[in-house]
């Protein structure tokens, strides 16, 4: 078999053939490359976590060593000097509300889009797809002016409303795509049982579509929790600022307090990481189906 094909191979292909794919060396090479890349993702974070338990002096002198005298002082500082607890709370209030609103309003709209017949359906569908192309930059100036006029700047609502609006098209498209695949028989059966449209939604379609709600919920949460741009514009005041704004302030105001910086990074990353390890599949699906999001 090989003598036949090898004549058609160039020298380079034959070389690769011999050393990379057919042999043990090839396998080892693959593992070395993969391990190196995974080091680039693990090592920096491990470095941050380790250092967050050292005092700033030890971070400078022994940055790669295991903490000799582990301390939680950096975390205490994060709570006392920059009030990271408050930012945490703000982040969860804002992003939590966004997720609930998007799932509720988007879920209802998705149900109508997927299972009911009406004239404007095609137009609305096209509109939803087009709105995935709108980046936050393109709406922020008018949104900011509207928020000033409504006197909402630096309240939770100032970020909750535009985040909800920005994520609804994505949510409706993903959830209605899922609902469209549910067999018509289920719908007919629930009509037989005397369900109206609303009960049909809560008793049949919502439970069956839960995986798509989870996917959308996770992605919307991440997107909202991680969005620095709109947060800086709309909710930068300490009272309402989410954790990403705090991180940005820490970097400009406490740029020499390494202990505080490492603790702040660790605290921002840890909840999301734990969450990710628990629901990895849903995360991957959410992020990749959110690919087209503006």
């Amino acid at each position: 078999m090989h003598t036949h094909t090898q004549e058609q191979l160039t020298f380079w292909e034959r070389f690769q053939e011999r050393y990379f794919s057919q042999s043990k060396i090839g396998k080892i090479f693959i593992y070395v490359v993969l391990t190196l890349w995974s080091m680039t993702t693990i090592f920096p974070l491990a470095w941050v976590f380790l250092n967050s338990f050292k005092d700033s002096r030890e971070i400078i002198t022994d940055t790669f060593k295991i903490p000799s005298d582990p301390t939680v002082q950096n975390y205490v500082n994060a709570f006392e000097t920059v009030n990271i607890g408050k930012s945490y709370l703000n982040s969860f209030i804002i992003s939590g509300s966004v997720v609930l609103l998007v799932l509720f309003i988007g879920g209802l709209a998705a149900f109508a889009m997927a299972r009911m017949q009406f004239k404007l359906r095609g137009v609305l569908q096209a509109l939803l797809i087009a709105s995935l192309l709108i980046p936050a930059f393109a709406t922020i100036v008018p949104v900011y002016r509207m928020m000033i006029q409504m006197d909402l700047v630096n309240t939770y609502l100032a970020l909750i409303i535009p985040h909800t609006a920005g994520n609804l098209p994505f949510a409706i498209l993903v959830i209605s795509g899922y609902m469209a695949t549910i067999p018509k028989e289920l719908e007919e059966a629930s009509v037989m049982d005397g369900c109206g449209r609303f009960r049909m939604f809560t008793k049949v379609f919502l439970p069956i579509s839960l995986p798509s709600f989870a996917t959308v919920g996770i992605f919307v949460f991440l997107w909202s929790y991680n969005d620095l741009f709109s947060s800086l514009v709309l909710v930068s005041h300490e009272r309402v600022a989410p954790i990403v704004v705090l991180l940005s302030n820490v970097s400009s105001q406490y740029g020499t307090d390494y202990g505080l910086m490492t603790a702040a990074i660790a605290m921002t990353v840890i909840p999301v990481l734990i969450f990710y390890l628990l629901a990895q599949k849903t995360f991957e699906k959410g992020a990749t189906s959110g690919a087209v999001k503006g």
């Binding site: 593992y31 993969l34 609305l124 393109a138 100036v141 620095l228």
Partner: protein, 287 residues
């Protein structure tokens, strides 16, 4: 179904009222405001295309535009390239595939702000990660963020941040290829690296195209990493359209001009996505 009209109205209204007021209206309004000059918050004067003329002559805007395009080139090549190599490699192994999948993907879930702060610490002159490694190896410290290097220094975390994302898309695509294809290829005598070029890559061309379009349009949305790591500096050597738009609209309160830059970002994104789609148009393989 009978009586559906009412439900259609009830179910759709909340969603389209909210997106109508806070997404579609601002989008249109933004285009209108790009024709106004704004002083402070409420004084707007219609100035026609003056903002666009100003944008055309604005040296910093031009630098931000070229920086964005340059970033786009690096980011697209390396994000998609590295992701493709990693995906093919992970597909070739059985042991540990899950571990690599997890570790490659997780930078995606971390906020740009945290990654920015992390890389600030890595690049730090006094005791950043890189300089400490150099010192431990007995070498001199290096100033990592200079006018020459700053753009590369923000390109690296951007690439690092998103490789896992394209990796998952491509790996999923590769794993969808039916085994028969490989078996048939082996009967034909196609093996190893050849298999990759003659079979795997042609079969995932449409997914690669999606990745490239996403990488290109994604680069235009870069804000966090640049804002935190360099603030567009030193000078304006790493300024990108996103950070420049923020600076003009909200730090210099030139909102009309900021709106103009936002229009440029949208137009650029749409045309680049369109062009890439056209250029990469190829018959798609279905199986």
């Amino acid at each position: 179904m009978k009586g559906d009209k009412l439900y259609i109205f009830l179910f759709l209204t909340p969603a389209f009222v909210i997106t109508g007021i806070f997404l579609y209206y601002p989008f249109v309004e933004n285009i209108l405001q790009s024709f106004y000059k704004t002083d402070g918050f409420f004084n707007s004067t219609f100035i026609g295309i003056d903002n666009y003329v100003r944008l055309w002559n604005d040296e910093i805007a031009r630098e931000a535009l070229f920086n964005s395009l340059e970033l786009m080139l690096y980011v697209t090549i390396f994000q998609v390239g590295i992701a493709l190599v990693l995906a093919i490699m992970v597909n070739a192994i059985t042991k540990g595939a899950g571990f690599y999948r997890t570790t490659f993907f997780f930078p995606i879930v971390i906020s740009g702000a945290a990654i920015g702060l992390l890389f600030t610490l890595i690049y730090n002159y006094r005791n950043g990660l890189l300089n400490e490694i150099l010192v431990n190896l007995g070498l001199e410290r290096v100033l990592w963020l200079t006018e020459q290097s700053s753009l590369y220094m923000v390109a690296i975390p951007t690439i690092w941040n998103y490789v896992g994302f394209y990796f998952v898309i491509l790996l999923t695509a590769i794993q969808k290829i039916p085994n028969d294809f490989y078996e048939a290829a082996e009967l034909e005598g196609v093996t190893g690296i050849q298999k990759m070029f003659k079979l795997t890559i042609p079969l995932i061309v449409s997914d690669l195209k999606t990745c490239i379009v996403l990488a290109i349009t994604g680069t235009l949305k870069i804000f966090e990493l640049v804002y935190i790591i360099t603030r567009g500096g030193p000078g304006s050597s790493s300024e990108v359209l996103g950070t420049y738009m923020y600076q003009k609209a909200f730090e210099d309160t030139a909102m009309g001009y900021g709106a103009t830059i936002a229009v440029l970002i949208v137009v650029l994104g749409l045309s680049l996505a369109f062009i890439t789609n056209k250029l990469l148009q190829k018959e798609e393989v279905t199986y």
